[in-house]
Amino acid sequence: MSMISNQSQASKVATSEPKKGSSPMSSATASRKPGEPLKFVDPVFTLKDVAVSYGNFVAVSDVNMQIPSHDITAFIGPSGCGKSTLLRTLNRTNDLIPGAKVHGSLFYHDADLYHPSASAVEVRRRIGMVFQKPNPFPKSIYENIAFGPKVNGRPKKSELDDIVEKSLKSAALWDEVKDRLNESALGLSGGQQQRLCIARSIAVEPEVILMDEPCSALDPIATLRIEELMAELKKQYTIVIVTHNMQQAARVSSYTAFYVTEVNLTSDRRTGKLVEFNETKKMFSTPDDERTEAYVTGKMG
């Protein structure tokens, strides 16, 4: 069943492709007044008045934005601004934290992600995630990649071999590990482990890959390789990346969302807010909001 819906998605993307191609940088920016939210043709995510709370604590609120397909969107902002929380609501990973609750409406294409009939397991199969610290399973390289396809179906050994090879090639790791697929994934370097985790996500053929500070535990060379990989992957996948590193956002993304922590002086509550969502080029040159400018120029945060 998941295979069928997957194909219908692919065709949807294909039909929307010409429109997208006819106006580069998408139709979003053509005649937009400052402060007006970006709109995309067939966005992957549409967030309306989204807020996330843990018990009584509201981590982030009033988020309105759309996230375009087959492109890289970056979330930046100071620590505690709710950018990771928001990212984790996009594939319902936040469901796993007791007390976490999502308010407002969050659509994945035209499906409500938090509709009572939506299955978190199905959501996560389509929307993969790569975490801050590389977290390979303590299994062989092969078994790490094969895990997702195995739980999502019963592929034959030969099919599985193909998936493993294809995924590792997509993650630019195949040449380094092809001779030791049966060795433990824990023996790889940090950067290799992170590319393995990306390959592992790709293996279940998601449409979206969420990346939560994927390079923060890596050295500059490994970081560069991941960034090159992301540029390659955006041809096939929609990527949303949370990063602490502004240069990284500037290098890899087409669109950037900037969040801050607003402190309510009367209640001393801290809540993350979306300040600005714009083309990355604009965010780092002539942003609409002065807080964005202060942050990207290093005067704040």
Binding site: L96, R124, F131, F147, G148, V151, S201
Partner: protein, 314 residues
């Protein structure tokens, strides 16, 4: 030099003051005391083991291949030293205990680590640990006066169960080690990093798949350690076997029959009226050595698995 120079004649002294010398002395005494406490506890253990060996070897030289016989009657004349009935008795009772305790204990551990809410786990976990501390004599009594007459005697289809049965002893030993397996395995599973679970969920795995295919796999050495420790506990359990299985070293495979384990033989024979140098006295040492060796190996294996597990995640 420059600091002392300012006061001219006063030379800075780094020699210890009287007060510091006293503190150093106290420190030395305490260090020696703690070191000797460590040495004593190690020496006592080694001494006990060594004291078993001469008598064991003396008896072994005397009886040689008789230990491979099938009749265990060292307390009668003529004595017979075939250890087979003790081995089968021990094996069957431990087997029954493990067959009961492994599924229940592991299911409980997986439930506690991956299904139970934080609050439920906080309540249940200490209860499990209390259960692990129930005096075995209480379990033995229950086995003797409830399990044997009410269950085994009434429902066991093979033979005619008497007041003492290996099945009852195996059941009660199983109940004894369930909390050990549940508690130690839960510790292992709960310390599998959350990142591991999130990675699996993010690939579209269900809660059951996350628990059984990732968490148990990642915590496997801890789980194996739990099983080995539980096995060692069941293997050395004396009171329950003595009270519930009787003291009849019968060579049989029918769990409805009475049996004797190695531990319960020692408990039975070593109650003080064995004369030094007598055959009863010597066999206690022999069985004790075998029991000790097996338990030691199991404990070493268990600890090795635990430390390997810690290496991977700490």
């Amino acid at each position: 030099m420059s600091t002392t120079a300012q006061s001219g004649s006063a030379v800075m002294s780094l020699a210890p003051s009287t007060h510091l010398r006293r503190r150093n002395l106290i420190q030395l005494v305490i260090t020696r005391l703690m070191a000797s406490a460590t040495v004593i506890s190690v020496l006592v253990t080694v001494g006990i083991v060594l004291s078993l060996l001469p008598t064991t070897f003396r008896l072994l030289r005397e009886i040689t291949t008789q230990v491979f016989g099938t009749v265990w009657a060292p307390l009668f004349t003529p004595s017979q030293y075939g250890m087979a009935p003790l081995f089968t008795g021990t094996f069957i009772i431990v087997l029954i205990a493990m067959v009961i305790a492994i599924p229940i204990g592991l299911a409980a551990a997986i439930f506690l680590s991956d299904y139970a809410t934080f609050n439920l786990r906080r309540i249940v976990k200490p209860i499990l640990e209390i259960l692990a501390g129930i005096p075995t004599v209480v379990l033995g009594l229950f086995g003797l006066y409830v399990v044997n007459p009410e269950f085994v005697e009434k429902y066991w289809p093979i033979g005619e169960p008497l007041a003492y049965t290996a099945l009852g002893a195996g059941l009660m030993t199983g109940i004894l080690i369930i909390p050990i397996i549940a508690s130690v395995a839960d510790d292992a599973l709960s310390s599998v990093p959350r990142a591991m679970r999130e990675a699996a969920y993010a690939l579209g795995a269900t809660r059951r798949e996350v628990a059984t295919k990732v968490v148990v796999n990642a915590g496997l050495s801890g789980v194996v350690a739990a099983l080995i420790l539980a096995f060692a506990r069941a293997f050395g359990e004396t009171t329950i076997a003595l009270m519930v299985a009787g003291s009849y070293p019968k060579l049989t495979a029918n769990p409805g029959d009475p049996m004797q384990t190695m531990a319960s033989f020692i408990g039975f024979a070593g109650i003080g009226d064995a004369e030094v140098g007598s055959s009863a006295y010597n066999t206690i040492f022999l069985v004790g050595t075998v029991l000790f060796t097996v338990t030691l190996i199991l404990n070493i294996l268990g600890n090795r698995f635990i430390s390997r597990f810690r290496e991977a995640y700490e």
